[in-house]
Amino acid sequence: MMADTGSEDVAVIGNTDQTPSELQNNIKNTMVEKGGTLLKGLEISVAEAEKRTGKNAVSIQETYTVYLIETRAVDNVSEVANPTPDSLWRRYSEFEIFRNYLLVTYPFVVVPPLPEKRAEFVWHKLSADNMDPDFVERRRVGLENFLLRVASHPVLSNDKIFYSFLTQEQGWKEVVFETGFQAKADSRLKALNATFRVKNPDKRFAEMKHYGDELQSVISQLLRVRARVADRLYGVYKVHGNYGRVFSEWSAIEKEMGDGLQSAGHHMDAYAASIDDILEEEEHYADQLKEYLFYTEALRAVCRKHELCQFELEMAAQDLISKKQQREELATGTVRTFSLKGMTSKLFGQETPEQRETKLKTLETQIEEGEEMVKERTAECDEFVKNAWEDIERFREQKDRDLKEALISYAIMQISMCKKGIQVWNNAKECFSKM
């Protein structure tokens, strides 16, 4: 099924069990540039979720949820998907492993986030329980979203581990661990959390990092407000249900007024009941916001990685400069800057010419190596900056598109809620006027 958007080609469409709004969302999410590098010819979906029980690594019985990943090959010519899918079950933790692999392997990519591990920003009627069926369902959608985003990414979609993750039931874990990403993961984390000062940061990255922080802050606030608003709105609607009961009781003692009151009461009951669906739909908007909230972390990681690259380059350059200075001092005998070696030689007497010769030779080697290092690091930095900025641009466009769509659907949802309200009260009004 291809959606006609009038702009870019649509990559893959997911589960047809999705609601129209989810479908819309995913279609937009998987828009890709022309000549895209996505996993062509493969339809991906997270079709189902199931509860399992089993013994974990420390032999304790636990209950967990597994998700069914279905893939269908699409015929290139006819563009029709193979009706019978290949499928395998994966746990949330496996998704996490896979994502960590991506983070380490492609540090210049703003890696799509996973749906939240635990329910946050909940309003009180919504369960914060991970086993709650609504939570599981929203997580299923989120996981599918994640896979589709990876599949439509120009770089990530080509990853072999990704393909394994989708298709290889047994032994995938071994394969991913073989890449040795875990070791890199630890050092990456350490580096990201370290504090260091960069002398010449790329302004663009600094601005982007700042933007990421702001976005994170504002979306968090928004989600908090939304949770409180949802709580209150729920209360308003539900109390109206009490009108239903009292009108019914009252109608029992009335003659002419009775029918009108009774029917009006039913409409009040309907009004009170309508809030459940309304808030469930709104949950979808919250999920869209959450995705971008988590995206800010990935964005920050890329900016930090740039800082790290830059820092290491500056360190190498600094080191080279100091080595060159040392050579100069040794060669000319002048001491430009204070150095411990200089002091000790002054205190304990000059070195012999042979000693100086050895020192110079060592320094020359070091300088050569240093120059290599600087060259390497500069190349690395440039490469990183180029790739990262490309992906950041891609991300920025995607974000603008997605969030605008999210706002449009939110507005549409509000409109629908208002129209429902008008309808119910008009119905009630009609009943009242017949009293």
Binding site: H240, L407, A411, K419
Partner: protein, 433 residues
């Protein structure tokens, strides 16, 4: 006892001219137990007079046939409008004196009744005066249902007695009160009502003097008598009122709860706008849409504020009025019971003492008259009350629905105006790509 189809008095406003017979024709008449200073003429002496609900009319009480005539002569309004007394309450004004600050209202009257010296009046009255009128009516017309006044006491510090909203709510209630009295075929002819509408300076002592000059004191004895059996219809009224007042109380609580929840919802909703605005300031492409959403939210907030205010000011007071109304009605029912009990007790006492041959003493006869009058008045007023109640609640609840519809329509308009703003940009971007 019943003689022919009972017809209601023209001024009760329900029948057309053709259906009303000339008062001097047989079988039609209404007698008012309200004492009328200017008229001491006794009843026309007709037999078989009946009240609109079919009961016999007591002819021993003083009746005012000239006023009766007057009322009916006014009845040449071709389109069926039979009102001859129009009362309005408006123009609230604050008065500040060294002793106190209070509000007065203008009470305007237009009438063709001869009980009034002038066809038009305009006087200023304060709440105290309305309160005085009501207690006078209760005392002088104990067999009738007197419409309620808005609540007398307001908690200082909680409610601002001089705020526009409070004064307006009160004005509306006072206006309704006077209109109901004016529309009542008996109460509207009450002397105190006349004085209230016409006297330049309402001297309460003057009113007291009026009362004491009256012939027949209409003080009904209450207390001490045990009622044997309440007639079914009055028992039904009592039961109805009990349940009705209960339901009204529940509705009042629900409405209050909704207002509270809506206010709390509003507090949270207000948080949205600044957050969206703040977000907009850090975006480029998304700035306009986000600012649009912020504006939308602000609009919805003001709509909600309006809704909550209106429910507080228009809905709740009317509901409370009715609860008071029902309370006073229950009191009237109690009085009726007492009057009947007195009669039954006295009757029994007589039956024991004398033999069948001696006529019933006038004392007991008077009691019987009182019972029958009371029952008749009450029944007539009950029907009127039921009708008014139906109209009032139809209006009240329809009003509530309207306010909610208005709120949702305001929000709808706000959100709908946002969509083209968002979608245009989206399409524009698509084209440039």
């Amino acid at each position: 006892m019943s003689a022919g189809t009972p017809k209601s008095l023209p001024s009760s406003g329900q029948k057309s001219i053709q259906e009303i017979c000339h008062p001097l024709s047989a079988e039609e008449s209404i007698l008012s137990p309200s004492p009328d200073l200017g008229n001491t003429i006794s009843s026309t002496g007709e037999k078989d007079l009946s009240l609109p609900n079919g009961n016999a009319v007591d002819t021993s009480s003083p009746a005012s046939s000239s006023s009766l005539l007057n009322r009916l002569q006014l009845d040449d309004d071709l389109d069926g409008e039979t009102r001859d007394l129009f009362v309005t309450v408006d123009d609230p004004k604050k008065h500040v004196s060294t002793m106190e600050t209070y509000i007065t209202y203008r009470v305007s009257t237009k009438t063709t009744r001869t009980e009034f010296d002038l066809p038009e009046y305009s006087v200023r009255r304060r709440y105290q005066d309305f309160d005085w009128l009501r207690s006078k009516l209760e005392d002088s017309q104990p067999t009738h249902l007197i419409p309620p006044l808005p609540e007398k006491f307001v908690m200082k510090g909680v409610v601002d007695r001089f705020s526009e909203e409070f004064v307006e709510t009160r004005r509306k209630a006072l206006d309704k009160f006077l209109k109901r009295v004016a529309d009542h075929p008996v109460l509207s002819f009450n002397e105190h009502f006349n004085v209230f509408l016409s006297a330049k300076d309402l001297n309460k002592r003057q009113g007291l003097a009026l009362l004491s000059k009256m012939g027949e004191s209409v003080k009904y004895v209450t207390g001490g008598y045990k009622l044997r059996a309440r007639p079914i219809e009055f028992a039904a009224m009592g039961e109805y009122l009990d349940i009705f007042t209960q339901k009204l109380g529940t509705i009042d609580r629900i409405a209050q709860r909704i207002i509270k929840e809506q206010s709390e919802y509003l507090v949270e909703l207000r948080e949205y706008s600044p957050v969206y605005s703040s977000w907009a300031s850090s975006e480029e492409e998304l700035q306009e849409p986000l600012d649009g959403v912020a504006a939308c939210m602000a609009n919805c907030c003001s709509g909600l504020e309006e809704l909550t205010e209106e429910m507080s000011e228009d809905f709740l007071p009317v509901l409370r009025e009715y609860i008071l109304y029902v309370e006073s009605m229950k009191n009237v029912l109690k009085k009726r019971d007492q009057v009947q009990a007195e009669y039954e007790t006295k009757l029994e006492a007589v039956a024991f003492r004398e033999d069948r041959k001696t006529p019933v003493p006038t004392d007991v006869e008077k009691c019987q008259d009182r019972v029958e009058c009371f029952n008749a008045d009450l029944k007539a007023d009950w029907d009127r009350w039921q009708n008014n109640k139906r109209q009032d609640f139809r209006q009240l609840l329809t009003g509530m629905a309207d306010k909610n519809i208005q709120y949702y329509e305001k929000c709808l308009a706000a959100w709908e105006s946002l969509i083209p703003l968002l979608q245009d940009k989206q399409e524009a971007r698509a084209d440039t790509n």
